[in-house]
Structures are given as structure tokens and as C-alpha cells.
Assembly symmetry: C2
């Protein structure tokens, strides 16, 4: 590994965002490409970020009544077929196991593309009475969708890591509250952990999850002007309950159909995080999720080596005791400049520099990633200064992402304006929409932009009275954008 | 779910251990059978136990230099074939993906049966210099082995959850130290978390992991007299390094072959836990891993309801504040006797009973699972009393398991004695062994017992001078047992 980071990032985020992203992911040690197209190896620095996302979400899920479980990796074809909408949605993308050992299987087994069709029948078995509701299970696992596209780590891969939550409720309202609870938690993941503002909305009817009443989404804007579906929460109504007989006895012993939801966040969250904040020096991470929040780099000559290293050792111990994730880079074989570059590449949010002057003055120098802002802090108040600096770094990252998002939501009132605005600036275009898929199709065909969401509130009047594409009466506001 | 536990456990652990085990697993809500033979659904109460095992091991791994990562679910057939020993070992048990969407794949993909053949090539890529060693990665995932056997949840399933650690080292000694470090941690999992003593040893040469120098094992004795391989740690020598070119430049810039290890614990640990401690009333769990350690059951009449519930609410709050995982069962629709049975079935280690007498005397009644021992504690010293009672429950479970193990290791000096002892008592038979597989085969054929381990110390003289089977000079001590 020692040789890799010497190369540095050679691509430009602004001019060549695709290659730049691939380079950052590999050189920062987040992931490598696997031998089969569409698959990646998630390296420890990448997986630690996924663990950070897991840890945040898993805690919130458990605080709000969710229990983890684990369902089989394989789903018999006949099970998948019971939910016609789902199988139609996923059939072209399913990886099939057809042989076990030397035998042909009698029935093909799908490697799960999503688990409604295996989880819902078990929910049906476990739910008898209204007292068993709500029932909420979640699993952290990988799923496989055989899409033939260029591999883009964490964004486009045939196998990806995610969590999928599945719940059953007594009525529509309770299921809707659940759908919103999870969407809120996804939004909180982005705003409070990943330093990214997101937009909330629902997918247009023609783009819902197969079988869903309502598919809600949080959308994140990437620096190249494309929108990423960054988390989804589906109100499934009673369609899955009907297909798999999820019923319960109510207080009057009457049999009722349950209402179900499902919701998921994948490692796209990780890709979106990397793409949003990183720069031409490499990875940039918010301190909330950085596996190493602070690195201390000692700067010495032969005659000051001992005093500088002692001073660093003590301050690192103090920070560790205060709960900071801190490393001391005391390698002899590397000079400070090399170390600065390496830790910038790997996205450590705060660097502490200590030379003989800092030691004699009882100070430390703090350097913020990404903007290089430097401050001098008293050694005696180090814990406070570090905590404040980490908060400041987070606030800077969030503010920059927020400014980008806010300046990239633009209104348009005509087809030409929609096409021109997205063509020139990327980002989101807000316009009136009649509700017809054909109006989206027209835009999609010309500039590959689609309606990524409409507002959640059905009653809200559209931003314009007329559809920006066809000019008929607008029923909703639509947000057009190019997407991943 | 409300109806299930009313049935109670109907099978006997002593007389029908197989059916008893299956009943406990299902009625305690740990797992259900999936629609495809060989697969199970791990329900929240079962998965929580797995999370407990994960949490303990993962912490110890990370404290000792291991980082988590994630490698692809699928392994191309050509990759698997590069390690001939591995492919020969697993070929009959591999599930093959042959179709993606509507297309036949050009190369079959194995659903990973274990990941040496995909992880080692990446370790080879990441290791350049002696400074990159040791390199340690671990993944928590599921693996698939297409064995055609009766499903036994957590013991025999085609898909199972496990962790697999893979490391590379500069020399044989360092790899051996790693092999032992992980075996020590596995032993610690059993003794300190699962309340189970285990035996440590190595597999005979003919039963090693394909390609390994040494396969070490911790073996746990089940109540039916069979041994379970409860965790394994392999010193792989240089065989995988040779197959996948894992080399490094040493201090003198000379190219050297690395030495690798791999080690794993599966959800068998969970099955062994359930089988060891549980009884005819249901699940028994050590407090270390029980998702609910204490349940408080209020006992009231109409006129004492409020005071009893208030008293219970407060003590539950106090225990929670003290870090105890405690639940209050204040359901109106169930009587105390029903609740006692339900929580015994579900394996809560300690029950607190509170009636009007306890309230007026400022006391509580504590009831231990599994032996029903009852003690009265002062309300004022509740936290201390509960902590002590939980420690006592753990000690009781461990002592019982230890007694079972110690009284079930027996010496035998002849073939008839080996056959008779295992036939009559099960358990382990310690005997001299010449080192020939044929002597094991003879015993295996007659009573399906095999050599589950030999001592780790190669220099230790055998327990008897002659092989218990053939009478030739004994080279090692062998432990024979029937196995899962």
C-alpha cells in the first residue's frame, strides 16, 4: 500500500468528475474493482464508512421499534411470482442459481433483488391479532440486480449493500406514519451525519416501486448536477398484504387486511458522501463519520525528536481519553509533507501539527480539511479547541453543500426553459406538471432528465398553473433532474 | 404470535433431543423454516443473539488489529480453481449462478462457500512491503454450502451466517501467533459470553481445511453427547500465498512469500448455546447475551393495581438507569402464571415478582432461570442484588456445562473400549493414536465417531503408548466423539 498514495489525485473534480470519483475511491482505499464487471471489493476504509452509516441508522431504528432479522439469500421463483408487480419489476435483473453441487435444481432460485416476496409471507405467519401490530423487521444484507452498466463504486454495482425494513400496520394512516418516520430518519442521516442537505418528495405514479401506493424519496444533488435517489420509503398499501395474506383479527375478532411498508438505504449514501465533499486533494469526510477524526503529525529535527514526540504522545492520549478518534503518525521513514498529503488524500478532517516551537509555547497548530484554515490553540484547552474545530469543519461542509443545492433549484415555465436550464446548469428544475408520463418522456428523450420527485403534500398547489411541457393545466409541481 | 407460546414445549430434552431442539428454536421465536429445504429465517429473538456474538467478537477483533471489509458474494469459477485444494474441497457443495436476467453467463459464478479464493488475490495486491504486514481483514456475511441433509436450524443449513477473517504475515511464527490469537478469542467467546467450556485442539492431518498447514478448533460438547466444532482457526502456511502470489519486499528489498491465516465462527455458536443450557420449559440464556436480562411481572388485584404498577415502574426505571436490560410486563390481558411461562420459554434469566406484600415491605422477589431459585431482596439495594443474581445465574450455567464436559471425557485403551464407551455414554474418548486415518475409519464405520481433535502441543507424549485401535506405537493422543 505504501506506494499508492504517492501518486496523488490526478483527475479534476470539475472537469472530469467521473474519473476523478473513481480515482478518489481507489486511492483513498475505499474500494477496488472486483474481477467480474459490476462488482467491487469494499476495503476497510470504505467499509468503516458503511459501519458509521449502519451504526447511526440502526440505533434510530431500534429506538423506534424495529428489530433486526435475517431472511434467506435465495427466493424460489414461485415465491417471487406471487407478487406479479414485483416480479415484473425485477425479472430482467435477477441473478439465478440453477445448480447446487453437481445437480440441476428443480426450481430456479433468485438471488434476492429485494425481499418483499420472502419476508411478507413470514409476516403473514407471525401476525394473528391486532396486538401483534405494528410488526417491524429490518435486515442489513446485500442484494443483487443484474444491470448491464458501467461499474461505478457505490453507485452502479450488480451487488450492493443496503438495509431493507419491512413493516405491517393496522391501517393506512399507521403505515403512512411509518413511511414518514423512516423518511425522516433518512433525512436525518444526511443532514446530521453526512453533512448533506436533501430534498424530500414522492416519485410520480409511473415511477413508484412495483406494487406501492406511494414511493417517497430523499434526493441529493451531486456536484456534477445530477440527482441521486438517496433513500426510499414505500407505503405499500394492501397490495402485498393481499398477495401474501397478511391479515389480523381486530378488537371485534373481525379479519382485516394489514397495510405494509418497506424502506431502504444502500451504500449509495456512501458514494454520495464521497462525491459531495471530496476535492482534487482526495477524500473529504465530515468528522461525524470519519474513522480517524484527527491526525497528529510531529515535525522534528534530530535534536528535538524526543521532546516533540513526547508532547504529541501526551496530547494524543488526552484526546483519546476525551473520546476523539485520533491517530499519531510517528513514522520515521516519511517526512511531514508526505504525511500531510497522505492524510488529506484519506480524508482526515483535522490535522494537528507540532514542532519544537509549539512545544516551547505550549500550543498546537490545527489545520482544517478541506480548506486548509489554520488556527493555533493552547495545549491546555486542546480538547475544547479540537471539539470546536471539528464542529466548524462539519458546519463548513454542510454550508457548502447547502449553498450548492439552494443555487441549483431553478424554476422553468416552458419546455425550452426546462431543457435549456438543465442543459446549461444541471441541478433541479421546478415546473408545473399535468401528471402525464408522456410529458416526462419528452424531456427524458432530449436531455435524459426525469421527474425525480413531486412534493409530498398532495394538496399543495403547483408552482405554475400550466404544465411546463404541454401547457395543459398543471396538477402538481415536478422536479426534473438528470439522475444516477 | 399471541397463540404460540400457550402450547409450551412438549418434547423432552433427555428423550428426544432433536425434536426438543427444533421446538425450542421455533417456540422461543429464534427461527422458522424457510420454504426451501436447508434454509431458515432468523427471527428477531434469534438475530439478537447473533448480534450479541458479533458485538463481542467484533470488539475483540478490532482491539487486535482487524479491520472489517466486504468482498463479493460471487466468485468466478476460474478464481476458485486457482486454489486446487479449495475447489476440490468445496466443488460438490457449491451453488452456481448461471443466469443473469435473461442471459446465460459466460462463466459460472460460485455463491461463496468461503472467500479465500477471492480475498487472497486482493491481499496480494495490497501487500507490497514488510511494512504492510500483518494485514488483517474480516467480513461478516453469509456463505452457502449445498449439502443435502436434514435442516437443523443454526447447525445444518445450506446458507449460514458467519465471520471469516483473513490475514497475511511475514513468517510462519507470526502467522501461528495470529492463528492462536483468534482461537483464544473464540474460546473466550464461549467461556466469558456463552457460559460454555470448550476443548481446544487441532484437527488430524486428514481432516484439515483444504490447503491448510494446521487447522485448530474449539470443540463444545452437546447434551446429547456429540461434539460441535464451535470455531476454527487455520494456519494456511504459504499454500494460498503461492497460489495467489502474496509476496512482499523485506527490509533488504528481497521478495518473500507471505504466510496466511483464516478463521471463522458461524451461527453454530448460537445453536450450541441454545442446546447446551435450555430445558423442557424452553430457552435458557446467560445474562451476558440475553436481549432481556430481567423481566418484572406485577401481581395485583383491582384494589392494589396502581400501587403495584407504580412500584414496578420505578424499579424498572432504576434498573434501566443502572444499565440492566429490563422489561416490565404490564399487560392487562394476561395473568401472572401465563407471563411466568412465557418468559421462561423465551429465556429471560431473571424474573422480578412484585405483589402488594413486596410493596408494603419494600422488597422484591427474584426468581432465577433455569432452576427457579427464589430470593427476596431489599428494594433499596435492588441494583446490587440484581447484578449479583445475574452473576449467579451465569455461574450456575457455566458450572453445569463444565460438570457435563468434565464427566464426559473418558480414557479408553482398546477398540472395544472406545466403541463401548462412546456407544454407552457419548462424549469424548481419549486414547493413543498411531496417526493413521485407517484407524479412525474403523471407528467411524462402526459408531460414526471420529477424531475431533488431537492436542495442540505436538511435543506432548500421547496418553497411552499404543494406538487404541491398531495397537501400534501411538504418536498422539486422539479425542474421538460423534459430531454434528
Amino acid at each position: 500500500m505504501s506506494g499508492e498514495q504517492e501518486l496523488g489525485i490526478t483527475e479534476s473534480k470539475e472537469h472530469n468528475p467521473g474519473d476523478w470519483y473513481a480515482e478518489v475511491v481507489q486511492k483513498a482505499g475505499l474500494a477496488d474493482y472486483a474481477p467480474m464487471g459490476g462488482f467491487i471489493v469494499t476495503r476497510p476504509r470504505g467499509y468503516a464508512l458503511w459501519e458509521g452509516i449502519q451504526s447511526a441508522l440502526d440505533g434510530w431504528f431500534k429506538e423506534t421499534g424495529v428489530q433486526n432479522a435475517y431472511f434467506p439469500l435465495f427466493i424460489p421463483e414461485s415465491y417471487l411470482e406471487r407478487e406479479k408487480d414485483v416480479v415484473e419489476g425485477f425479472d430482467p435483473e435477477v441473478a439465478w442459481v440453477t445448480q447446487g453441487g453437481y445437480e440441476e435444481l428443480e426450481e430456479r432460485l433468485a438471488v434476492r433483488p429485494t425481499s418483499e416476496s420472502i419476508i411478507t409471507p413470514f409476516i403473514a405467519r407471525w401476525v394473528r391479532s391486532h396486538r401483534d401490530l405494528p410488526l417491524r423487521v429490518n435486515q442489513w444484507c446485500s442484494v443483487v440486480r443484474w444491470e448491464a452498466t458501467d461499474t461505478k463504486p457505490f453507485f452502479r454495482t450488480k451487488e450492493f449493500l443496503w438495509q431493507e425494513g419491512h413493516t405491517a400496520h393496522r391501517d393506512h394512516e399507521d403505515a403512512w406514519a411509518e413511511t414518514m418516520r423512516r423518511l425522516d430518519q433518512y433525512e436525518r442521516l444526511y443532514t446530521d451525519v453526512l453533512a448533506m442537505p436533501v430534498l424530500r418528495g414522492q416519485k410520480p405514479a409511473h415511477d413508484k416501486f412495483p406494487g406501492a401506493d406511494t414511493t417517497t424519496t430523499v434526493e441529493a444533488l451531486m456536484p456534477d448536477g445530477k440527482s441521486v435517489q438517496a433513500g426510499t420509503s414505500h407505503h405499500l398499501g394492501t397490495s402485498f398484504a393481499e398477495a401474501y395474506d397478511v391479515t389480523y383479527a381486530d378488537e371485534d375478532e373481525e379479519e382485516q387486511l394489514a397495510h405494509t411498508t418497506s424502506w431502504g438505504v444502500s451504500w449509495r449514501a456512501l458514494g454520495a458522501l464521497v462525491m459531495t465533499h471530496s476535492d482534487d486533494q482526495g477524500l473529504v469526510l465530515p468528522p461525524t463519520i470519519a474513522p480517524t477524526q484527527v491526525v497528529c503529525v510531529p515535525i522534528w529535527q534530530e535534536d528535538t525528536r524526543e521532546e516533540v514526540l513526547d508532547y504529541c504522545g501526551e496530547l494524543v492520549d488526552d484526546l483519546e481519553a476525551a473520546g476523539v478518534r485520533v491517530d499519531l503518525d510517528d513514522r520515521d521513514e516519511r517526512n511531514p509533507g508526505f504525511k500531510f498529503n497522505e492524510w488529506e488524500l484519506k480524508g482526515v478532517p483535522l490535522r494537528i501539527e507540532v514542532g519544537p516551537n509549539e512545544v516551547s509555547d505550549g500550543e498546537v497548530t490545527l489545520v482544517h480539511r478541506p480548506d486548509g484554515e489554520t488556527e493555533v490553540a493552547d495545549r491546555d484547552d486542546l480538547e475544547g479547541a479540537v471539539e470546536e474545530a471539528l464542529d466548524t469543519v462539519y458546519a463548513k461542509l454542510y454550508a457548502a453543500a447547502e449553498e450548492t443545492l439552494e443555487s441549483n433549484v431553478r424554476e422553468a415555465e416552458s419546455r425550452d426553459e426546462i431543457l435549456g436550464t438543465i442543459g446549461r446548469h444541471g441541478g433541479y428544475v421546478e415546473t408545473g406538471w399535468c401528471g402525464e408520463e408522456s410529458c416526462e418522456a419528452e424531456i427524458k428523450e432530449q436531455i435524459a432528465a426525469e421527474i425525480v420527485m413531486v412534493p409530498l403534500d398532495d394538496e399543495e398547489p403547483p408552482v405554475h398553473d400550466e404544465c411546463g411541457v404541454c401547457g395543459e393545466t398543471a396538477e402538481r409541481t415536478a422536479y426534473f433532474a438528470r439522475t444516477y
